[in-house]
């Protein structure tokens, strides 16, 4: 029996997908477009000329599936992993289970609602197409593949017609939200665009980034690039400071990866407190500047 896993170079989510593939029965084969490091038994490296073309990756995957006849295909739960797997599912007319956290025979557990709800589902197909939910699987040692083989896919013009034609740099200053060690995040309770000045100040002092809830982006107080949540950025800082955020499941979907969560809210009943490690109850407009001042004092002497 064989399990096939699609891996991308230098991608932690791909290594997590390998962990899921390893938990299934069978020899683990990998497919990468270009060379990659992945602890699989056999890595098939396909060379596809030029920039990323989703359909070309999928064509290669489907051709390798035909050659190896695996019982399951696993992809990373990244945008590209889900994309390539969905292309393959469409080509093969097979069901695809996205963001899987567990597999038991024909049954899978998968994430819904950005991971705030789980679904147990049965896959009615001989070949299971699964993407691995991000950060649901540990990463083993990133050892080299047992064996590397070259795979030459047979691509048509249609497979390469849609491809990246250009990459433009983003001009985002400051610490990128997704990588920040500290995120100071504001919700409706901040009250206005100007209200974020005190959050900016604290974030700068902590060399962190400013985040926000969807209410804030919808009101136009902050750009959408600052939004944390199911339809925003998913963050995993050492400390997430939620100021004036109620704790809706769709917001939590974006910050549940934080190591510690400090909530500042004037409503002692706010849901955010049931997700928090630390709580400060009261008006954020008084509390946040007080923390900034205290921090300066602590550093000053």
């Amino acid at each position: 029996m064989t399990v096939l896993v699609f891996v991308e170079p230098d991608d932690e989510l791909s290594l997590q997908a390998v962990t899921l593939a390893r938990s299934l029965d069978g020899e683990v084969h990998g497919l990468s477009i270009g060379p990659a490091q992945a602890p699989v038994d056999v890595l098939h490296v396909a060379e596809i000329e030029g920039t990323y073309a989703p359909a070309a990756s999928a064509a290669a995957l489907v051709q390798l599936i035909e050659q190896l006849a695996p019982t399951a295909v696993v992809a990373p739960g990244s945008d590209r992993g889900n994309e390539v797997l969905a292309h393959a599912a469409a080509r093969l007319d097979l069901p695809m289970a996205a963001n899987v956290t567990d597999v038991r025979g024909d049954d899978v557990t998968r994430q819904r609602w950005g991971g705030t709800l789980l679904e147990e589902a049965r896959v009615h197909a001989e070949l299971k197409l699964l993407s691995a939910a991000p950060f649901a699987f540990p990463v083993g040692s990133a050892s080299a593949p047992g064996r590397v083989e070259t795979f030459v896919p047979d691509l048509t013009g249609a497979d390469t017609a849609v491809r990246v034609v250009e990459t433009v740099g983003a001009s985002t200053g400051g610490v990128a939200l997704a990588d920040a060690k500290v995120v100071v995040s504001g919700g409706r309770g901040v009250g206005s665009s100007e209200g974020f000045a005190i959050l900016e100040e604290l974030a700068a002092l902590l060399e962190g980034a400013v985040g926000c809830s969807r209410v804030v982006t919808s009101a136009g107080w902050r750009p959408h690039t600052d939004q944390v949540g199911q339809t925003g950025t998913k963050v995993s800082p050492d400390l997430y400071i939620a100021c004036g955020i109620s704790g809706a499941t769709q917001h939590i979907a974006g910050c549940k990866g934080a190591k510690k969560l400090l909530a500042i809210n004037d409503d002692p009943e706010a849901t955010i407190f049931s997700h928090a490690d630390y709580a400060v109850i009261g008006n954020l407009h008084e509390i946040v500047p007080a923390i900034t001042a205290e921090l300066r004092k602590a550093r000053g002497g």
Partner: protein, 249 residues
């Protein structure tokens, strides 16, 4: 330009997921409903394109009778008419794609067919891609930028450190993400107009799901006991102490 946008009615779950007794759905008795923010941006983008270039925006949903509310909301944003595939059951992604496909074929041709990158509730990441393949159209996913001109679509995707750009001929399928634009708030006259716009309701029969939902489960780990550091600004020293302990101060 004829543009189709596919939207799905979902509950606004608030702070806590509560399941129905049979664990088949979320208890929605006290909840409002909406469409995914991704899809709302899809509708807004389609309306902007048609406002600038002329044409028609059609919205489609597969969902219960009440999903007409969401179609009306989309028409209040500026969509011209709606197709409602009526079914009370939950459909898996493959069956959803095939039902939407039948409806799309009955209404072709569209220059642009717009989906959310993923549905808010099911998060299957696939319905749009399946439909693109069935129609033999190019597909670009997860757009945060879209420019339609001269029979082509310039599509921008956010990736680590920048934006990947694709350029595809129309007709095409795109899936979009929130952040593509800032959707308008519909005016009262727009809402009134929306009530008079046509909704074409068609009953549909669900095929047996190939990805069959057995039950829903609320994950553990909710209901933490937070350590209260204090009330008001007096809590600041305790907060800084925690920051020092965590090594972030």
């Amino acid at each position: 330009m004829r543009i189709l946008v596919a939207v799905k009615r979902v509950p606004i779950t608030g702070g806590k997921m509560v399941l129905s007794e049979d664990a088949q759905s979320i208890q929605t008795r006290h909840l409002g409903f909406t469409i995914s923010p991704h899809e709302e941006c899809g509708v807004e983008e389609a309306v902007r394109i048609v406002e600038a270039q002329g044409g028609e925006v059609v919205v489609i949903t597969l969902g219960p009778a009440e999903a007409e509310d969401q179609l009306r909301e989309c028409m209040a944003l500026g969509a011209d008419r709606a197709i409602h595939l009526v079914s009370d059951e939950e459909w898996d992604a493959q069956a959803t794609a095939s039902a939407l496909l039948d409806a799309i074929r009955s209404e072709e041709p569209f220059d642009l067919i717009v989906f959310g990158n993923e549905s808010a509730d099911a998060g299957n990441y696939q319905v749009g891609i399946r439909i693109a393949y069935a129609l033999g159209l190019p597909v670009v996913t997860g757009l945060k930028g879209l420019t339609v001109a001269d029979g082509r679509a310039r599509c921008e995707q956010e990736v680590a450190g920048g934006r990947d750009v694709y350029d595809v001929p129309l007709p095409a399928v795109v899936t979009v993400k929130e952040g593509l634009n800032l959707p308008r708030y519909p005016s009262v006259p727009a809402k009134l107009r929306a009530n008079r716009k046509p909704v074409d309701a068609r009953p549909v029969e669900r095929a047996a799901p190939k990805l069959e939902k057995l039950r829903l489960v609320v994950p553990e780990g909710q209901g933490k006991q937070a350590e209260i550091l204090g009330h008001g600004p007096d809590a600041a020293p305790a907060v800084v102490e925690v920051m020092q302990k965590l090594g972030v101060a």
